[in-house]
């Protein structure tokens, strides 16, 4: 009995019990359904073991949308709790667990997989490749991410959620002050998911460097590919820092070392430094692909080439470099002195310059264009003003002296949400709508989509603008309650209304997917938006091999030039195509990683040792396995191409 005690949630409430029941019922329903309809084999063969970047992309997408739901429910609970002074809806401990979960889920398990989803689906198509450089590693990346996300998500029903904020500052996150296993979950789920991301970063950097179609020089890469490339470079440099920090933090919690706890010479500030050396670049990991998406979308719907291609690339390179030299702006108030603060202040504000260049380039892309406002374009046009407000308040925060007054207040919360929601979330929804026809073969409804976009934008403004005011009035972030006398009540109530509007917008988006799945026409061309880059030059649905013939590229909008100027993309005849085999190893390994992480969270040493050995065994097995993939022969290609409506050019 005592053994099972440790798995009980430390702060049980009806909501947690209800969630437990819901989780069990859903799981039973899914398993039962799969068994009843005899879909296990199909699922295993076609999805769980797939190494096809397109399917992996779609699995990332589904996971990200689920996590968006989870993260938003948490956000709504927080806003409901704060809507009125002295509210009793949540107690302090629950509020703390919820904002921690919200932060981690939104950044690491929603935004990250969402961008990787789109990268997975689009980058190989956009560079005219048949797959990524290491398809099986790609599957491993996904399953590691998924295993980390699931480990994190069970925390609130088994043993307790982390409660030290998504930044998990020590010594608050040490055993001394955070006594249940929550922070262990944080350490291990981020570690596992982070490994997946790092592998992904290496994979995509290699893919983009090595697998571009003939003729596609670096300066002819479409902007989304460029942004993905820079992003993956940042991943490769930033994520190892997180790995190390998490490993040290785990040791503090589980083996009683004192890297970050303040006993015996441990340094709490070391955690802050390591965390933000990863954490600041992380926000650019999220935003740069978003910028790439906006570039594609804006030039498509302005019917014009991207203005200032070279300066777009240059600005991303500069942002990438600067992102590694600003981390200390997250702790100006840690007593590092006027000189250090001045240096970090200047580097921080300097990022505004390349960012400004990008905004002006998008604005000038509209110049002399022929603008149609589709849903993806609407998101992009709503992004520009809201993001600008988020961005300029970032410059204000960058002024280190003034930051002494903004730090840890709702002003900061307003800033980063107004950057991250239009910057990342809008971009992803825009990208989702834009690429939906390529992924699923039908378009999402434009009318419902526009309602959702407007509602989302208005909701975002209503939810977050009041926080600038309450922040300047002294409302600290992460406060689970406040008294009537503070006068924060009105602002938080407005904020709550905004959050509700965001919720309605999400419902509309979900409804749109349902509605369009049922009613949208399946009779669309491969290029429904009249777009400009290679991913639109192949069939919809995209065949496994992406391109029957490898395209030949001669500009950064190869497909557009092919359409308008008669360039020939597909010159050669069909040849046999070599493809990788599916593999069950990635999902099995990730499953073992899940048990491994769970064992460490609860210090269950026997399974921890067994799974550690098993992980190495898998790696050994993999490295000795002989698997040369298979060939798709010319006649099969011909048949497929004919079925998809005749081969391209």
């Amino acid at each position: 009995m005592e053994f099972f005690q440790q798995f009980a949630p430390p702060h049980p409430s009806p909501a947690i019990y209800a969630s437990m029941v819901a989780i069990v019922l859903t799981t039973v329903a899914i398993f039962g359904g799969l068994t009843y309809f005899k879909k296990w084999g199909y699922l295993w063969r076609e999805w769980l073991t797939t190494v096809d970047h397109k399917r992996i992309g779609i699995m990332y997408l589904i996971a990200a949308l689920l996590m968006l739901f989870r993260g938003f429910v948490d956000a709504l609970m927080m806003r409901a709790q704060l809507a009125m002074p002295d509210n009793q809806l949540l107690d302090a401990q629950h509020y703390n667990e919820i904002f921690t979960t919200h932060g981690v889920v939104m950044i690491l398990f929603m935004a990250m997989p969402f961008i990787i989803a789109i990268m997975n689906y689009i980058v190989p198509l956009q560079i005219g490749a048949r797959d990524v450089a290491f398809p099986r590693l790609n599957a491993l990346s996904f399953w590691l991410f998924f295993s980390g996300a699931m480990l994190f998500n069970i925390s609130f029903v088994i043993g307790g959620s982390p409660d030290a904020g998504w930044t998990s500052y020590f010594p608050l996150a040490s055993n001394e002050f955070s006594q249940h296993v929550g922070t262990n979950y944080y350490m291990f789920s981020l570690q596992i998911a982070g490994l997946g991301t790092l592998i992904s970063g290496i994979n995509f950097a290699t893919t983009i460097l090595k697998m571009r179609a003939p003729g596609m020089t670096l300066m002819k890469m479409p902007m989304f590919t460029w942004s993905s490339f820079i992003t993956n470079i940042i991943i490769v440099f930033a994520f190892p820092v997180l790995t190390v920090a998490l490993a040290m933090g785990s040791m503090d919690r589980i083996f009683g070392t004192n890297f970050f706890t303040t006993a015996d010479g441990g340094m709490d500030m070391l955690w802050a430094n390591l965390f933000w050396i990863w954490g600041h670049p992380e926000v650019y990991i999220l935003i740069l692909p978003a910028f790439g998406l906006y570039s594609e979308i804006i030039s498509t719907f302005a019917r014009r080439n991207l203005y200032g291609y070279k300066s777009m690339v240059a600005s991303m390179v500069v942002i990438c470099l600067l992102s590694f030299v600003v981390w200390a702006h997250h702790f100006y108030t840690m007593g590092q002195g006027a000189f250090a603060n001045s240096i970090f202040s200047i580097t921080t504000m300097a990022i505004a310059v390349p960012t400004g260049v990008k905004i002006f380039n998008w604005l000038f892309t509209l110049w002399k264009g022929k603008i149609t406002i589709t849903v993806p374009m609407l998101y992009s046009m709503l992004f520009i003003p809201i993001f600008t407000i988020g961005g300029v308040t970032g410059v204000m925060l960058g002024m280190s002296a003034a930051d002494y007054q903004y730090h840890n207040t709702m002003f900061l919360v307003a800033h980063f949400h107004l950057v991250i929601i239009p910057g990342v979330m809008f971009a992803l929804l825009a990208g989702l709508t834009f690429y939906w026809p390529k992924m699923f073969g039908f378009m999402l409804n434009e009318r419902i989509g526009k309602w959702a976009a407007w509602l989302l934008a208005i909701g975002t403004c209503v939810a977050f603008f009041p926080m600038f005011i309450s922040g300047l009035d002294g409302q600290a972030r992460r406060m689970y309650t406040y008294s009537e006398a503070t006068g924060f009540g009105i602002w938080n109530m407005i904020s709550f209304v905004g959050a509700l509007a965001i919720g309605v917008a999400f419902l509309l988006i979900a409804y749109n997917i349902y509605y369009s799945t049922r009613y949208a026409s399946r009779d669309i061309s491969a290029d429904p938006w009249d777009a400009r880059t290679l991913e639109w030059s192949t069939h919809t649905p995209v065949p496994v091999y992406n391109f029957a013939v490898v395209p030949q590229v001669n500009s950064d909008q190869a497909f557009w030039d092919a359409k308008k100027h008669g360039h020939v993309l597909f010159k050669d005849g069909y040849k046999d195509i070599h493809m990788p085999n599916n593999s069950g190893l990635p999902i099995i390994m990730a499953g073992i990683f899940f048990v491994w992480g769970f064992s460490f969270v609860f210090s269950l040493w026997l399974p921890a040792i067994v799974t550690t050995i098993a992980i190495f065994a898998c790696m050994a097995y993999q490295s000795f396995e002989k698997d040369d993939g298979y060939h798709i022969h010319v006649d099969t290609i011909e048949k497929t191409e004919r079925k998809l409506g005749g081969h391209k050019q």
Binding site: Y169, G256, T261, A352, I371, M396, Q405, N408, G474, A476
Partner: protein, 305 residues
């Protein structure tokens, strides 16, 4: 330039006052020179940023209205435009100038907030040790040899030098109307310079999340002229109980407390940490820190075993 700034300040106060039902926002209602400097910076940057936002909005709306498809003939084909050196120089140049200007302001402000308040130049700073424990604030006045919990009396027109540290998680000491916040940590002492011009009562709080009792981790600050302050010190000395080590250890137990007053300070038996890595807890026990009880003891007995 200075006059301009004040005119702008005034205009902004009026706008925000109307917005918030006539009460200025705490941070923009400074009661001391440091806070005033920061409020000035904030408002200055707000105006500049407003300019940027307006510029972007205007360009965006212009483009959207002028170049929308429904405004053009069907056979209009947008031209291929690579870019333009002059336009791009402006796009880099103007933001760069703004950033340079704001950098100059910020660097100046950094040195101002990191040094004793200048306008009271002839006066020695009053040193107060402010340390946090879950979830309280302890204020030690070594010069006066008294200590308070959860409230602070300070003289006006005298530089205040706070020495900040923590008996637990990282906290942040913040009295928005007197100046910006700074962290208090268990393994180092940080210094914050503040000053009060106007007598009155202000709110102070821990601004950095520190666990369950964080939301109510506040304290009150009363600024008064020096004579009143001295009177108060005298009164404390004659009426308050002395602070013993045992009492202090009890105070460190996690929880909230009301306001308390003592003679003597905890600095004598529980000195503040000096700098990073200095082993201020002489924890000899080698049983290993994984022992939960052990860790607990160490916390509760602070740095004095």
């Amino acid at each position: 330039m200075r006059k301009m700034k004040w005119a702008i300040l005034l205009a902004f106060f009026t706008i925000t006052s109307i917005l918030t039902g006539c009460e200025p926002l705490t941070v923009l209602d400074p009661k001391g020179p440091q806070a005033e400097r920061l409020a000035g910076d904030i408002i200055l940057s707000m105006w500049i940023m407003l300019g940027v936002v307006v510029a972007v909005f205007v360009i965006l709306i212009y483009m959207l209205v002028k170049y929308r498809a429904s405004n053009q003939s069907d056979d209009y084909e947008p031209p291929h435009i690579e870019g333009n050196a002059i336009v791009e120089a402006i796009c880099v140049g103007v933001p760069a100038l703004i950033v340079i200007f704001l950098s100059v302001v910020t660097v100046q402000s950094n040195y101002i907030v990191e040094s004793p308040v200048e306008v009271y130049e002839d006066k020695e700073p009053l040193v107060i040790y402010a340390s946090s424990s879950n979830w309280k604030w302890h204020f030690s006045y070594p010069e006066q040899d008294i200590e308070t919990v959860n409230y602070l009396y300070v003289p006006t027109n005298r530089p205040l030098e706070f020495k900040l540290y923590s008996h637990g998680p990282i906290t942040s000491f913040w009295i928005p109307q007197l100046g910006g916040q700074k962290y208090a940590m268990a393994d180092m002492t940080t210094t914050l310079h503040l000053g009060a011009d106007v007598p009155g009562e202000y709110l102070g709080r821990n601004a950095n999340f520190s666990g369950e009792g964080f939301a109510k981790n506040t304290f009150s600050v009363k600024a008064m002229n020096e004579d009143e302050f001295d009177e108060w010190v005298e009164e404390v000395k004659t009426t308050a109980e002395p602070l013993t080590e045992d009492t202090f250890n009890e105070l460190l137990e996690p929880g909230h407390l009301g306001q308390l007053t003592f003679t003597g300070t905890h600095l004598s038996f529980s000195p503040p940490p000096l700098s990073h890595g200095s082993h201020n807890d002489k924890h000899e026990d080698e049983q290993g820190a994984s022992d939960e009880q052990d860790v607990q003891d160490e916390h509760e007995h602070g740095h004095h075993e």
